[in-house]
């Protein structure tokens, strides 16, 4: 009786170990994937669009969700410091729909002015130490012709991702064109679903347009995001394989606990292969149960953590300044299934060999005639 209780405790402990480990792994996978995808989406929506059509003649109204944008670089001067900025002139309908969700307007100045109004990010405002309603000097122009202009801070926004919005300044397109003239470069930003970028790009190229994707405009960012997702998945997979290997210890313990019963069954004529299959199935059932609970635990944890992240964001910890802390959870089902498959395969293989070794050691003579 004591032996059975001890054996049950060991099995429960193994289930708990696998469940907790897998919960952590699945959580990490979902977290990194969701954050990476959210950063990519934010770049695409705010910085450049999912696709950039470099033809000014591209229609803004049509079958594509496209927006005309004008951009240029400038130097912004405050009383205290200077910052190189990327000026983006947009039309009234630009910061609507999906984009609206990516930006939070923190402060606005309602004063009317003849000066060009700009909307700067919270991080840029902190760098320049400025507030809405203040004027800034802007140096703009071409190489041949640089001139200053005065602009007013109309609003301060926060995208949640300092890496992106540190230098990004929004303004009205017509005002930008009036002020900067020839130095403004025009293009259309086309919004599509992330997984359709390739398909739509090919279609646009086929239609005769010059098109680049957001990842072409920000290759370093795109590459880093892909790398972090892939490396995270590889590391998680390796840990998953090791977790599967750990179940072989459970198999060995089960055989050890049942030594006498196994010997008796061998004496009755049971074959080692028959017994091995039975134990392999038992361990696999334990592993699969733990796997299911682990995955569910990881998913639940993933949905709970975003409620905590805004609290961390409010504290403005410098440690987290390069992370996006506001994003929706996206569960990478295929990758989770692949992780589960790896755990099960690793478990099956290692348990098979462990059982083979353990059962080989069981001899009938040890029981038969004590």
């Amino acid at each position: 009786m004591v032996g059975n209780r001890a054996s049950r405790r060991r099995i429960l402990f193994q289930i708990l170990l696998i469940t907790l480990s897998l919960s952590a792994l699945v959580f990490a996978l979902i977290f990194v994937t969701s954050m990476s995808d959210a950063i990519a989406n934010k770049y695409a929506l705010i910085n450049s669009g999912h696709l950039i059509v470099h033809d000014r003649s591209f229609p803004t109204s049509g079958s594509y969700d496209s927006y005309l944008v004008g951009t240029t670089y400038g130097l912004l001067y405050s009383k205290e410091t200077t910052a190189l900025v990327f000026l983006k002139g947009v039309e009234d309908d630009y910061l609507t729909g999906k984009r609206k969700a990516e930006l939070v307007t923190l402060k606005e100045s309602g004063e009317s002015t003849t000066l060009m109004k700009v909307m700067i990010s919270k991080s840029l405002a902190q760098t320049l130490n400025v507030h809405p309603g203040e004027n800034l000097a802007l140096m703009i122009g071409t190489e041949a012709n640089v001139r200053p202009a005065l602009v007013r801070i109309g609003a301060i926004y926060d995208s949640g991702y300092k890496e992106l919005d540190e230098l990004l300044v929004f303004t009205d397109l017509s005002s930008l064109v009036r002020l900067c003239g020839e130095s403004v470069t025009f293009h259309h930003e086309v919004l599509v679903e992330m997984d359709r970028i390739g398909e739509v790009r090919d279609r646009l190229i086929h239609e005769g347009y010059q098109v680049t994707a957001w990842s072409d405009e920000a290759p370093q960012i795109a590459s880093n995001l892909i790398t972090s997702k892939e490396v995270t998945f590889i590391i998680i997979s390796i840990i998953g394989l090791l977790l599967g290997y750990a179940t072989s210890e459970l198999a060995r313990q089960m055989v050890e606990d049942d030594k006498r019963q196994i010997t008796l069954l061998l004496l009755l004529g049971a074959r080692r292969r028959m017994l091995g299959s039975s134990y392999l199935l038992s361990v696999l059932i334990v592993t699969i149960i733990a796997l299911i609970f682990g995955v569910l635990g990881g998913i639940l944890l993933s949905y709970a953590v975003p409620k905590v992240l805004p609290l961390i964001e409010q504290q403005s910890f410098s440690l987290f300044s390069f992370y996006l802390l506001r994003f929706s959870i996206a569960v990478p089902i295929k990758r989770i299934l692949l992780l589960g498959a790896l755990v099960i395969l690793s478990s099956t293989a290692t348990v098979f060999f462990s059982l083979h070794r353990a059962l080989r050691k069981q001899t009938i003579g040890s029981l038969a005639f004590d």
Partner: protein, 232 residues
């Protein structure tokens, strides 16, 4: 050479074990033992403690390798069988009863007997019917669904007897089957075992310290000074 009437045929069995102290030569336990038991015969092996009775039984049952000699059971040379065939042979042709009643702890009396039938290849229904009948036969009809911790020593031994007979084996090997029981239970088990073995025309090879029990069998052999002699 064995003939069709022979169930057990041991030929020139020799067995020794490593000496316990360094420098000593090997300890000879059995020397040139030959034994023939016919189908349906019950044979008791008696002898002093440590004379090698259990060793001889293990070798006859194919559970221990002899240093030399051959073992033929029901016309089959055990040496010719690989592990898989030995397991099948054990399941179908042999039954075992030990001094300690080795029941599978997590299983009921019925399941303990059924499992032996299932291992031998019976269908679940056949196994259920055979196991139930035998347990009724040994007087455990009210104990079918009890696990070993809920059975007395005598009841457990009856389960083991039923398990050993469920496949109608050719040979039953028993080592001190009543050694752990009180006098009353021992007598009951002795009667039950001998009665069932005779009923099924099985061959019985039994080791015992009890001369009264031994005398109830068809033959008594004494293991003395590494050899077998007829009588007590």
């Amino acid at each position: 050479m064995a003939n069709s009437f022979e169930c057990v045929h041991l030929s020139s069995i020799t067995k020794s074990f490593p000496a316990t102290q360094a420098g000593d030569s090997r300890l000879m336990i059995l020397e040139g033992i030959s034994l023939v038991i016919k189908h349906g015969q019950s044979v008791a092996i008696v002898g002093k403690s440590g004379s090698g009775k259990s060793t001889l039984l293990e070798i006859a049952a194919g559970l221990l390798e002899a240093d030399s000699g051959t073992v033929m059971l029901d016309g089959v040379l055990l040496h010719d069988l690989d592990d898989r065939k030995k397991a099948i042979f054990r399941a179908q042709k042999m039954g075992f009863i030990f001094q300690a009643s080795y029941m599978l702890a997590d299983f009921t009396a019925l399941e303990n007997v059924k499992i032996a039938a299932l291992i031998a290849g019976s269908s679940p229904q056949e196994a259920h019917v055979a196991a139930t009948d035998l347990l009724h036969r040994v007087g455990l009809e009210k104990r079918l669904h009890h696990t070993s911790d809920k059975l007395s020593g005598g009841e457990r031994q009856r389960v083991v007897i039923a398990r050993s007979l469920v496949n109608n084996p050719a040979i039953i090997f028993a080592d001190e089957p009543t050694g752990n029981l009180d006098e009353e239970n021992a007598a009951m088990i002795e009667e039950l075992l001998l009665g069932l073995v005779k009923e099924r025309n099985a061959t019985l090879l039994l080791v015992t310290h009890n001369p009264q029990f031994a005398s109830k069998l068809d033959r008594v052999l004494t293991l003395r000074e590494r050899t077998l002699v007829e009588g007590m």
